[in-house]
Amino acid sequence: MPSKDKKQWQRDTLEPSVKRFPERREKFQTDSGLDIDPLYSPEDLQAQGLDYDKDLGYPGEFPYTRGVQPNTYRGRVWTMRQYSGYGTAADTNERFRYLLDQGQTGLSIAFDLPTQIGYDSDHLLAKGEVGKVGVPICSLEDMETLFDQIPMDKVSTSMTINATASLLLCFYIAAAKKQGVSQEQISGTVQNDILKEYIARGTYAYPPRPSMRLVVDVFKYCAENVPKWNTISISGYHMREAGATAVQELAFTFSNAIAYVQAALDAGLKIDDFGPRLSFFFVAQNNLFEEVAKFRAARRMWARIMKERFGAKDPRSMMLRFHTQTAGVSLTAQQPDNNLIRCTIQALSAILGGSQSLHVNSRDEALALPSEESVQLSLRTQQILAFESGAADVVDPLGGSYYIESLTNELEAKALEYIQRIDDMGGSVAAIEQGFQVREIGDAAYQHRQEVESGERTIVGVNRFTTEEPPIEGLMRVNEEAARIQVERLERLRLKRDNGAVKSALERLEQVAQTDENTVPAILECVESYCTLGEICQVLRGVFGEQEGAFTF
């Protein structure tokens, strides 16, 4: 007799079998600690009250759970965008042109730490860091070199830049102008997500509140002048890399997003004027199904937040568009070729989850920046997924899976609880000031580590299935001369520019920063007068103050 329902199946069929053949673990859980049943059925979705029209709908329609585009990748596959930058602007220009030749469809600039924090390459604190994790861009001249022979009206560019986002956007606008490309024509994204820098990534410069104003200045300027630019990429990626669970990734990302939207509304912007230009950035981690469910839950949550909480009317304001990167923390130094397999599974989750653009990490990145050869493999991974796997041929392939839908519901519910807690604390900025997110993430990271050390969590090649092996060869090394070349270039620039114009542009910026006026036009004027990044940030540090670090762990 077949079972009438799941309960009966569990009692009559499953349990006797488990008694004879015990399960591998006492309890199965996702990375976020959600309990996993042995099986999901229509009864689970019924119990959760899933309503197809209300909760899923059709792709391209509210609440966009199944996708923001009606046909997702059948028209155009996702943008293949490998994050890249090192050495000097000239070195990175060469890598960019190589990647475009290999079939990459968008650029993604990695800046070095001094550029991200607002120090010129010759600043005392820049020692050892110039050109290491990205490219140094100290002036318009560097940006011109970076885009030499790359048509800025054709390529879309993502810039991972936060504290200094408006500056780098101005460098980009000014460099495009020199190519004869207007600011109306350029397209791309600035990360411009300062809140997660205090929570996880650490490249802040000023305290949170003045930083929020700089973020909103970009929203405002772009709404009026740079219509094809994504003014922010609200990022869960780095918080997850720092140890957050998938639930925390969703919750902290959206509570930050809520803070940005509220700040923009408070500054007098209208929701549908800037809403369509907000974009997101998530990680693709190892737990394939939880990640797919996370992306789907994210789309539904954002649509509802924008519509119900903020009263957006334009459907484009409700559509969650996001970039995905595979998980850097999941890469192992041991048996590095295994990383190719991890990256492929993670990338597949992004595709099954309907990501608009993707970066796939490389096998050697637990030890160094990726070599050209390993970056090519990452790009090939994307191309195989796009053109051979069939995963891109149908919209939301896992939609309707009892398990996926159930996980989507659970992740959403848990994340909403967290968002409520943050709302009760006075919102994301207040929670950050109280150290809430940092503590939560720190706890999750430590718990994860303990699970690895106890063997409860397997990492192949690290705590199980280990082998002795020789160190990996052919690692990338940044040109040792890069820092010296960069500093000399900067010194020459300071001599040859019109230093009178520099001085008056910086004075003008200082005045503007002290009022409520938008800072972007004044920064653009500085940039076009060849003020350096460090000089501009020095002025803003003077007005806004400097953010102190935290010592808790």
């Binding site: 730490l113 860091e129 192992t332 920046l369 690290v462 160190p471 690692l475």
Partner: protein, 138 residues
């Protein structure tokens, strides 16, 4: 000279501009859970800030985490500051994204151990305990 009865004191530091502090914080907690007294500097520490904190806190160990690739520029400066201040007896260990070929050069300037990705916190605790006890006994 270290008093053998007091717990091992460790300064966990993040030199340079690198903000990746997950590893540093996890190690700090693990050392504390293993009974050591841990002071964490936070991110963005200059060599002077680190050696000053080490002197003020009278630590037995400095553990530094660096993932930005700036290790060969920053760490020699810290080691020479420690020597200048007569703090050669402090045990210095490092972790992060450090390629194999850079490990011996770092040991040559007095860094006792370089822990790569995937090292268990248990192994780090054990190394620190053994090394500090050996030094105290010497």
């Amino acid at each position: 000279m270290r008093d053998n009865d007091r717990p091992i004191r460790v300064l966990v530091a993040k030199p340079g501009l690198d903000g990746h502090d997950r590893g540093a914080k996890v190690i700090a907690r693990a050392l504390r859970d293993a009974g050591m007294e841990v002071i964490y500097t936070g991110i963005r520490q200059s060599p002077q800030m680190i050696t000053q904190a080490a002197a003020q806190e009278d630590v037995d160990v400095i553990g530094m985490s660096i993932l930005s690739g700036a290790h060969l520029e920053i760490l020699p400066e810290i080691m020479s500051l420690l020597r200048d201040q007569g703090m050669d007896d402090v045990l210095v260990v490092v972790g992060g994204i450090i390629p194999e070929v850079d490990r011996q050069p770092l040991k040559d300037i007095g860094i006792s151990e370089v822990f790569g990705p995937g090292t268990s916190t248990g192994a780090i605790v054990e190394f620190i305990r053994d090394s500090v006890n050996q030094r105290a006994g010497a």
